[in-house]
Amino acid sequence: MEPLSRTSKAMEKFADAVRDIPDESSIAFGGFAAVGVPFNLIGALLKQGTRGLTCVTNGLGSGQVPRPPDTNMLVENGQVRKVICAFTAATRASDVLPFTKYYEAGEVEGELVPQGTLAERLRAAGAGIPAFYTPAAVGTELAEGRETRAFNGREYLLEHALPVDYAFLRAWRADAFGNLQFRRSQRNFNPLMAMAARTAIVEVEEPILPIGEIDPDHVHLSGIFVHRLVHIPPPPDGIWPTRRPERRR
């Protein structure tokens, strides 16, 4: 039978995959800790130099040593206007995120969002839901002056969907149509961000497979949400996570 498409979404170079991203774009970056972070696409965006970005990400660094490209570097490179994330400061008071200095100085805006709310705002955007109510952050500083509503005797906070122009993802396997598989905790925010985006760009660890080579029952994200694929070359040309050094207490 004819495959879903005769064309492939695969591209040769990370630079080609990010070349047309204009200033003032909003971009969601997948990943949690160092897993599923699109290091190579971030690296390409640092070189591409687009500015005025709104970045959506759980955190801004990966904790990797040596430090691979991360959203902190986009901030340091003067490319970012605003960050929407679950950490505008590190959890450990003694750690200082590079972003925090720019945020405290008022040079870059920040919007701090509880992690589950961030995930659900992205999910809602991808699901055609404009807003929802959640119990998270009710009764805290984050809820001050905002709309709440009681359902069944409990108070909930109104939150809005978070659509983005682009999503940068890292996946384990892809076929040329863009059907994706993630491995272990690599899935995290990645499928949600792709669904919230108009254009989803994916760096892929395994060589891109012919269309149909992933069992339909085992596709984690349908290729209809995916637009561009770039296979990650082995190091040193491609960026891969390394073992994380355990920090001393």
């Binding site: 949690f32 800790a33 904790g63 959890t91 969002v113 952050a137 805290t140 984050l142 499928p191 390394t242």
Partner: protein, 214 residues
């Protein structure tokens, strides 16, 4: 630790972990809470959930055997137990918000006797680190808090009311410190257990509200 009396970090975590019941789904926060997964609970089966979508993780992977695709909430390379499953972030927080987490253990800067606790923002900061703490605090069936009894300069962390912005109001059920295990009772803390070699008067001297014996 400013105060070296009482339990060490692992002993604090052990004391709290012994409150876990067989079959509970437990979420451990970054830092000291992670140590709860080292506690030997005999035959009790605990299912550890991590906010990044890992259900049923096991011990930290031995050096050289790490799977770099698999981390817990603290970014440590963990292992999977037979029966484990992986979901995306929205499903992971569906588990949390729908009340399926029996217990969450979180570190904190302050814990108050009205059940408030604070763990996301320090004094004078503009930004903070929330992570999944607000979702977990608002929705887990039980919130256990683990912290050192005093600050580095000896000020109480167990207070009548939090001075720092709270993570969720009125939710904490148990508080474990180096000096003992405490339950907030509205007026103060009830000492469920005091660490060996520490007297209740010593606890009272470094607590910011009433401490009563059980």
């Amino acid at each position: 630790m400013s105060d070296t009396r009482g339990w060490n970090r692992q002993q604090i975590a052990d004391r709290l972990a012994r409150e876990f019941h067989d079959g509970w789904i437990v979420n451990l926060g970054v830092g000291m809470p992670t140590l709860c997964s080292n506690t030997d609970l005999g035959g009790r089966q605990i299912i550890y959930h991590s906010e990044n979508g890992v259900i049923g993780y096991g011990p930290i992977a031995p050096e050289g055997k790490e799977d770099l695709h698999l981390v817990n909430a603290g970014g440590q390379n963990v292992t999977l137990r037979p029966g484990a499953a992986i979901v995306h972030h929205a499903d992971s927080f569906s588990i949390i918000r729908s009340g399926r987490i029996d217990c969450t253990v979180m570190g904190a800067y302050e814990a108050a006797c009205n059940g408030d606790f604070a763990n996301w923002k320090v004094a004078g900061a503009k930004g903070g680190g929330i992570g999944g703490a607000m979702d977990l605090a608002a929705c887990a069936k039980r919130v256990f808090v683990i912290l050192e009894h005093t600050t580095r300069d000896g000020k109480p962390r167990l207070l009548r009311r939090c001075a720092l912005p709270v993570t969720a109001p009125g939710v904490e059920k148990l508080v474990a410190t180096n000096l003992g295990l405490f339950a907030p009772n509205g007026e103060g803390f009830t000492a469920r257990e005091i660490a060996n070699g520490v007297s209740i008067d010593e606890v009272r001297a470094v607590t910011g509200c009433l401490v009563t014996a059980t």
